[in-house]
């Protein structure tokens, strides 16, 4: 979708002339903690900007229509589908992708839990699952396994790794709850990518 389609379709029977090269728009985003200035065509989705311009291919394109969750990233700490927003619409915001969750060589607790619980098979949905799970814990609305299933329903897994995904998230959620009881400070500093 990063190319304009001049193709004929019903109601637009005439072949359009090749579109002129697009006017690029300047966008500044904080990507995984570092400011980046990009020049993008207005119709570039955030997903395509991440994958094609910034070479951050951890974020996946599954459907490109908001239906699968593979493209989930965190924008200012909130999970969204990067395929259904334009890069220009996110001007000035902080984007955290799967590449930005680990601290150096130390995996994010959610990444560790996914490995520990074997919460994937092919792995294609996994970056989206992990970013979504991190966003969900930040929202703080889930308490039961059924809550996890409902609030993670925007992330499909064709391999059907759901039981292990729920178990992995559960583990991180419980660990955070225990942490929060110990030190109040930690509760506000939970998962959410490098700040």
């Amino acid at each position: 979708m990063s190319q304009p389609t001049g193709s004929a379709s019903l109601g637009h029977a005439q072949q359009q002339p090749a579109p002129p090269p697009p006017d690029l728009v300047e966008v500044t985003l904080t990507i995984n903690g570092s400011p980046k200035t990009l020049h993008v065509a207005p119709w570039t989705s955030l997903l395509d900007a991440l994958r094609l311009q910034l070479d951050l291919t951890g974020t996946k394109k599954g459907c490109d229509h908001g239906q699968c969750g593979a493209c989930t990233v965190l924008v200012d700490g909130r999970r969204i589908n990067s395929c259904l927003t334009l890069a220009v619409m996110q001007e000035g915001r902080a984007v955290t992708t799967i590449e930005g969750l680990a601290r150096g060589d130390a995996l994010h607790p959610m990444q560790e839990a996914f490995v520990e619980h074997d919460a994937f098979q092919c792995g294609y949905c996994t970056p989206g699952q992990i970013c979504s799970a991190v966003g969900m814990l930040e929202e703080g609305r889930a308490t039961t396994d059924d809550d996890i299933r409902e609030l993670m329903s925007g992330n499909l897994c064709r391999c059907g790794a759901y039981p292990n995904i729920v178990a992995a998230i559960r583990q991180v959620m419980d660990a955070q709850a225990t942490d929060a009881k110990g030190t109040d400070a930690k509760a506000t500093n939970k998962a959410g990518g490098p700040s």
């Binding site: 304009p4 019903l10 207005p42 119709w43 589908n81 259904l84 927003t85 619409m89 925007g154």
Partner: protein, 343 residues
């Protein structure tokens, strides 16, 4: 996606100037106005990728500051048009005073989408009719005058009430079904000044002009949605029936709200009932609501109401099942709202 230019005006006036002069083309959701507002983008960008919507210019209204939720003088709540669906549903005033609305919003889409989707955009989302999305097929809503692919085609998700021989599409929103039952009002501003549209008059039936979804003009901006003080918090619910347990559009949904009186709340004082997934707009039937008033809150009353509401329902080759489904969903929703045991 086709090429377009992008703008982020810094105020409501500038946003209105950007769409000025295109009132003739109908509602923002209709035909092909050359300039479109974009809010969350979750419906418009999807339709642009499918080449169903083809604006030349997008005007980003998401940072206009219309995203608050405030008390109104009359004791109701004003929901900013640009407030996100998730922030609206989880707002404590909404979830305690209008639980049916929170429930309806949270029954829609996914957590990620609700974080992006705005209240104004939710109202103006377009149908999920398969033919509407498929530019290789005829569709009167997408290309007026080309015919309707769904009539005589695959119409499992289509309307059983209020359809026309031009279009049998349904409005897909969950939030709007609750807003219809609550008698919300849509606040709008435009070159002809401000106006307030009662929710029942916001969406329209397809008739001969299915390309027009709503009574909003293409040069108007929704600024807020007002909720009246009566939220039916004690006796209301939203029931959504769909093909999977989550992240699917409604086949049928019901917003049911009751005021009960008498010993143990055994009698219905007033009722509101709105259906989703069955028509081109959230379906409300005041005759049925009036019929419920004064009746005992019993399964028998609810069954009578359901049959009355569906008296003119019309099934097609694949969606006739919705009539029985709607009947049972109405009974269950009313029973849940009333706290009456149901099978």
């Amino acid at each position: 996606m086709r090429a377009f230019s992008y703008d982020r005006p810094d105020g409501v006036d500038a946003a209105l100037r950007a769409v000025a002069g295109q009132a003739e083309s109908g509602s923002p959701g209709s035909a092909q106005p050359p300039v479109k507002f974009v809010a969350g983008g979750t419906n418009l960008l999807d339709l642009m990728k499918a080449d169903v919507m083809r604006p030349d210019r997008l005007v980003d209204i998401s940072r206009l500051g219309l995203d608050g939720i405030e008390e109104t003088d009359g004791g109701g709540l004003r929901l900013g048009a640009l407030a996100r669906n998730a922030d609206t549903a989880y707002d404590e005033r909404v979830s305690t005073r209008y639980p049916m609305l929170s429930k309806a919003i949270l029954a829609g889409a996914s957590a990620q989408l609700r974080n992006m989707a705005t209240n104004g955009g939710n109202l103006l989302q377009r149908t999920r009719c398969y033919y509407f999305y498929d530019t290789g097929t005829p569709c009167n809503k997408r290309e007026p005058g080309t015919g309707c692919g769904a009539i005589g085609g695959v119409n499992r998700i289509h309307a059983i009430l209020g359809a026309s021989d031009q279009c049998i599409a349904v409005h897909p929103s969950d939030m709007c079904v609750a807003l219809a039952a609550l008698e919300a009002e849509v606040r709008v501003t435009g070159p002809r000044g401000e106006r307030v549209i009662p929710f029942a008059e916001f969406h329209r039936l397809p008739g001969d002009t299915p390309q027009i979804d709503s009574t909003l003009a293409a040069d108007e901006l929704i600024t807020a949605i007002d909720l009246p003080p009566q939220g039916f918090a004690a006796h209301s619910t939203y029931l959504k029936v769909r093909d999977r347990a989550s992240y699917a559009f409604a086949l049928v949904s019901v917003a049911a709200a009751l005021e009960l009186e008498g010993a143990n709340g055994a009698t219905i004082r007033s009722a509101r009932l709105a259906l989703g997934g069955v028509a081109h707009k959230p379906w409300r039937d005041r005759e049925v609501e009036a019929e419920l008033a004064g009746k005992p809150a019993s399964l028998e009353t609810f069954r009578d109401a359901a049959r009355l509401l569906l008296r003119e329902a019309k099934g097609r080759s694949h969606n006739a099942f919705k009539i029985g489904l709607a009947e049972r969903a109405i009974v269950r929703a009313l029973a849940e709202a009333a706290g009456v045991e149901h099978p």
